[in-house]
Amino acid sequence: MPANFVPTASDYLRLAPEIALTIFGILIMLLEAVSKGKRTYLAYISLIGIAAAFLLNLAAYSDPGSAFQHMVVVDAYATFFRALVLVVGFLCILASISYLDREGAQGGEYYALILFSLVGQCTLATSADLIMVFIGLEISSIATYILAGYLRDDRRNNEAALKYFLLGSFATGFLLYGVAWIFGMVGSTNLDAIRVALESNSGSPRILQVIAVAAALIFVGLGFKVSVAPFQMWAPDVYQGAAAPVSAFMSAGPKAAAFAVFFRIFMTSFRPMEDRWIVLVWGCALATMLIGNFAALLQSNVKRLLGYSSIAHAGYVLVALTAASEVGTAAAMFYLASYALMNIGAFAIISHIAARHERFVKIEDLAGLGRRQPVLAALFALFVFSLIGVPLTGGFFGKFYVFEAALHSNLVWLTVLGLVNSAIAAFYYLRIIVAIYMHEPGEATAEIGSPAAGLNLAIWASAIGVLVLGIFPSTLLKFASISAAAFK
């Protein structure tokens, strides 16, 4: 251990995005306390905060390396995920402004909570130590628990928050227990140190077995956060119950960050024992895809349907983890980016159609959207086709890349089953398209107006992102591959 604990300038630079987000979050809470009247301006301050964090993230990447005694690391991988969650936060705040106005719940703490949640997610993306993983996960989760129950007069919101909180803290317990076992065996919680210990200690089967148990515990904890079967039960209830912009945020940001750390732990620390966990992940990936897709077939609530679909998509990302290769990691990164964009777009449009108190969230409420709001309908169709995985959208290329990686690692059957799953998925996604274009307008779409400027911006930005990732994926692919290669 180095004796000098005084942080250097580059330590601070590498942590600058988190610092900026925290400062802006606290600032918003202070302003909230002193301001009277309309609080919409706090949303713009939070947007500025996220933009600042984004720029600082890029600045931090100009000087990559580890900081604070190897507790955090800034590499291409961390930069990618920090940028991704920041973009997610930015789009979700844009989509929230008019929603909160409509629900009469405009308030600073909402934006502050999103910023704090982003702090946690950025920490997850950069963490190089299991302690940091735990801290990041807690910061991110606690803020998200509150966000899920933000509309406190709404019963479903309360239910969502309580479920998420109880199950979530239980799962975090597993993670912490796993970390404790690791520390007991290895004497360190540093990700690289664990790997080194595993590599040098391959002779002793007893220690390997204990570490395998610890890895399984960590898998449970993280698997809950990314809604992997059999720990997926909370996801549909929470996505259905929470406010639509919050659901958009939860399904994109915390999930991406949790996957980031998932891959980092399993592809660095536990890489030497990959033959032990690949079987487990193989089974979970398949189960997740199957449960997500088959359960989604039966849903009539669009938010719940997207909840199940997000489970299925987590399964596709796990396929990339099963590949256990640099290509697989890069594929997962690309997939999470495109999934975040299309899911935010879809949830944002639903938040608009749902109207006050989210009355219209059934599939049949979308009927005739194509006639009333052709542009909005076309964008919704774009997101749905991207979720299905139709070419020229980011969703397709993400799938292509994930399954390419799986075949690269000779996972022929998982690929075939996964692809068949994505055809099953087409069935329920198409019900949305059928309602939009093939039914006569109903009560919900009769009174629908154009979305507000901020919401519109969020929708359009996601749509353009989805198309760019589908038509010109090379830049992002290259960056993802560089980042993944750093795991060696």
């Binding site: 139709v390 075949l407 690929t415 068949v420 055809a423 087409a426 398209i433 090379s474 290259k478």
Partner: protein
């Protein structure tokens, strides 16, 4: 700028212009008509270069598109004798579809025209793609507009029909995607020419097991699209519920996507797998021919009858492809063009019937020939083309296919020929019930073809005659392209399978 690039960009540009044009006006129609007509006339320019260099792909586009550390995808497209005529068929039929839609689509015509143009973009891409990834992409791009056309403008139970169509096709295409990815992981490229070169130079040799897997993946996608029995169950519903211009395109061109894919990719990407499965597929094709014809015989609705007859005729194309000889392959391609024209024309005329009577139930019709002699005559000519009367287009195709099948396996030809006889049966019986016989009270005032109706009919019939009488325009180009494909399957055109599997096994062994 390469002519092929223009052909791809024109419909896409037309799509955006149509989307941007005012809703309640003639502008979308005129834009769509102008775009498709210009595309057609420009596409004729592909014939010259393709004829000058028949052995290779011409008008080639080859530019880097996606680069990633472990694979590169080029936007690689080009035209040979098979692609050429299918592209021209597409661009020829699209203005007709626009023309039909103008009078048959009353609801939200603007979006319909836009989707037609998007569909044309997808189809031209499918027929010219020389990279598996690009092919897959256009394959799906063509599917989406057709799905929306069926679902949003169809009749009755259009929603379920459209979903069934999409999901069926999607199941097929994901398996194709799996094959594509598998090939990519084995050969390191998705480029068609690149893979062929790797095979023929012996750079990459696939095991029988690998070939079989790859073949089955591709085959499922194409079999659903064609469709080959028993994957045809989406077809009758979709064809019947779709609006007439969409049915016209589905039958005339979209089914050719499947047969084209079989010929271009199934045979060449996994020659061993294709040969191993050929007898089974030939049997399925023959079942399709006879089954389609028998069901058609029992239909009480004109549209459904033509739909089932389509299954029957498409069986011939598949049989020709899997005969693995020059005659069969040539006949299959020729039959693709002929079927496009004759079935397309049948659906066009059925559309006229529907417009005039509002129903296509045979029981509601009868004796139309008396009030509308010109219409009856045109219908009869088309019908004869469809059943394969000499001097009309289908005869050449079916004759060559049967010849190819007889060379491969005589019993195949014998059974398939049954389909020709049956087709004459159901078609003429339908004609008798619809056009001859007692004049019903509803058909008394049946208006004959108007000048507007004649416009698409004349070129269609002229082409049916041309294809039937003067094969030299089309055949040399087709032959050189199919010859290339057959060579690629390591079977030269004099190869014969006379007594079944023994020689086949020896031939495979020798390689």
């Amino acid at each position: 700028m390469n002519l092929l690039e223009i052909l791809l960009l024109l419909p896409l540009a037309g799509f955006f212009i149509t989307m941007a044009s005012p809703r309640e006006s003639k502008v979308p129609y005129l834009v769509a008509l102008a775009t498709t007509l210009i595309t057609f006339f420009l596409s004729l320019g592909l014939i010259g270069p393709a004829g000058a260099d028949a052995a290779h792909f011409t008008s080639v586009i080859d530019s880097p598109w996606i680069t990633s550390p472990n694979f590169h995808i080029n936007l690689h497209m080009g035209v040979d004798g098979i692609s050429l005529w299918l592209v021209v068929l597409t661009t020829f039929l699209l203005p007709i579809a626009v023309w039909m839609s103008e009078s048959m689509i009353k609801d939200r015509p603007k979006s319909f025209f836009a989707l037609l143009l998007l569909f044309e973009f997808g189809l031209i891409g499918v027929f010219t793609a020389l990279d598996l990834f690009v092919f897959y992409l256009f394959w799906e791009v063509a599917l989406v507009p057709m799905y929306i056309m069926v679902g949003a403008w169809g009749s009755g139970k259009r929603g379920p029909a459209a979903v069934k169509f999409f999901v069926y096709t999607m199941f097929g295409s994901v398996l194709m995607l799996a094959s594509l990815l598998y090939l990519l992981s084995l050969t390191g490229t998705t480029d068609y020419i690149g893979i062929l070169t790797a095979f023929s130079t012996g750079h990459v040799a696939l095991t029988a097991q690998q070939q079989l897997l790859i073949f089955l993946g591709f085959f499922m996608a194409f079999a659903v699209k064609v469709p080959i029995f028993p994957f045809h169950t989406w077809l009758p519903n979709t064809y019947t519920q779709a609006p007439m211009p969409a049915t016209f395109l589905l039958a005339a061109i979209m089914s050719k996507m499947g047969t084209y894919g079989l010929l271009r990719f199934s045979l060449t990407m996994s020659p061993g797998g294709a040969q191993r499965c050929a007898p089974w597929i030939a049997i399925l094709a023959i079942i399709g021919i006879i089954y389609g014809a028998l069901i058609a015989l029992m239909q009480t609705n004109v549209k459904r009858l033509i739909a089932y007859s389509s299954i029957s005729h498409l069986g011939f194309i598949v049989l020709g492809i899997f005969s693995f000889n020059q005659q069969g392959a040539d006949g299959a391609v020729y039959q693709m063009l002929a079927h496009g024209l004759s079935t397309g024309a049948l659906f066009l005329l059925a559309g006229y019937l529907e417009q005039r009577r509002g129903s296509l139930e045979i029981a509601d019709l009868g004796g139309i020939a008396t009030p509308a002699p010109a219409f009856a005559t045109v219908f009869l000519i088309t019908l004869f083309a469809s059943v394969g009367l000499p001097t009309l287009c289908n005869f050449i195709g079916e004759f060559l296919v049967l010849q190819g099948a007889a060379i491969a396996h005589f019993t195949w030809a014998a059974w398939a020929a049954l389909g020709v006889i049956l087709s004459a049966g159901y078609m003429l019986w339908m004609y008798q019930r619809v056009f001859l016989g007692k004049i019903g009270e509803s058909t008394e005032s049946f208006p004959d073809l108007t000048p507007r109706d004649w416009v698409p009919v004349v070129p269609l019939i002229a082409l049916m005659l041309w294809l039937g009488c003067y094969t030299q325009t089309f055949m040399p180009l087709i032959s050189s392209a199919t010859n290339n494909i057959l060579e690629q399957t390591q079977m030269n055109n004099t190869y014969q399978v006379q007594s079944g599997s023994k020689e086949l096994a020896e031939a495979r062994h020798a390689r």
